[in-house]
Symmetry: C2
Subunit: 204 residues, 2 copies
């Protein structure tokens, strides 16, 4: 990024969030229209929920049933592939750690990995929760499977994810997807329209 580049869009997400998956398919293109880069930041919604008191959406009475319809309808509207993983919700600790492991050296590779995790979960319907499953996705991208498995248990990598979660709660991230651009927060796939308008107009 050159010195005069515009501040990036920060994109907070949990790999197990269907609405974050929808947003992941569009956020880079939306940002690019307005000459913004996107910083992808996987976090654990479970940590956020300890603060907000929320529970997984599909498990909630009434809201869970509604959400299933809304997900199906949104899928058809966006014209994207979507299936719930065979086990859902799943705890995405392992792929989140692998993301930060990859991001140490190569942000683009980490992002490619994130996209592969999302498509594995929500297109191939595979819950990417175990270190084995997370390493399998990495291996398909040509990443050393053994090194990936080791990274899942590397204390330094664990600490990176822990800090990402802590930072997210500290700055107010209350769900996923959650975007911040120059201090302005936008929560939810259905706030991408506000975010885009904000980028287009400079705010209102």
């Amino acid at each position: 990024m050159s010195d005069d580049a515009k501040p990036p869009v920060e994109f907070y997400f949990d790999f197990s969030s269907p609405y974050a998956y929808f947003a992941s398919l569009r956020i880079d293109d939306v940002a690019k229209l307005y000459e913004r880069s996107v910083v992808w930041k996987p976090i654990m919604l479970g940590v956020v929920f300890k603060t907000t008191g929320a529970t997984p959406l599909l498990d909630q009475p009434l809201k869970g049933e509604y959400a299933k319809r809304d997900l199906a309808r949104t899928t058809r509207l966006l014209g994207v592939d979507f299936r719930l993983p065979s086990s859902f919700p799943f705890a995405a600790i392992a792929p989140s750690r692998l993301f930060y492991w990859l991001a140490q050296d190569d942000a683009a590779r980490a992002r490619a990995y994130a996209k592969a995790v999302f498509s594995t979960a929500f297109q191939e319907s595979v819950a990417v929760n175990s270190p084995d499953a997370a390493a399998d996705v990495a291996a398909k991208l040509g990443i050393d499977r053994g090194a990936a498995l080791a990274a899942c248990n590397d204390p330094e990598i664990k600490e990176k994810l822990r800090l990402a979660n802590e930072e997210a709660v500290a700055i107010g991230v209350c769900g996923a997807p959650y975007f911040i651009v120059e201090g302005e927060p936008f929560w939810g796939n259905d706030r991408l329209d506000h975010l885009e308008r904000w980028l287009a107009t400079g705010g209102w």
Copy 2:
């Protein structure tokens, strides 16, 4: 309604919901574009929350702070008046009962009353929770204040609201605003775009 009129849009709301207030300013116009009427149905979100386990939005850690920003931003985007009532959230039992009392004889008058309750709460910043406050709004529309006060304690009217709440939970209403058109549910002011597209296209 003539026999061949299209089925109406059902609009479930709680008078104390800011997002329902936003939706109340637009839903009639949106429906009218597609030759639909709107059936307004005030309910008590507190009853819904007993089933979903939710708590008032602005009281929730992280989400409450976010919601205040989102409300302010949405207000500016829509170009509408908006202030939180002096006491918030408020329990809108009294105005909800008065709505159903008025709706017995005159749906249009009940709707005019609902709009006045919303503007009193979110433009004049007055919490419309007590029977006195609810009757004051009615009186401004030329409705007999004493009869309105009596209606707040009429067992038959109380039962109407109780049944409306019960029906809402039974059909899956999980928040407010909540719309149903020919069996398809739409939750949230930010689903008005899906609802409009559904009316325009016949669904997808």
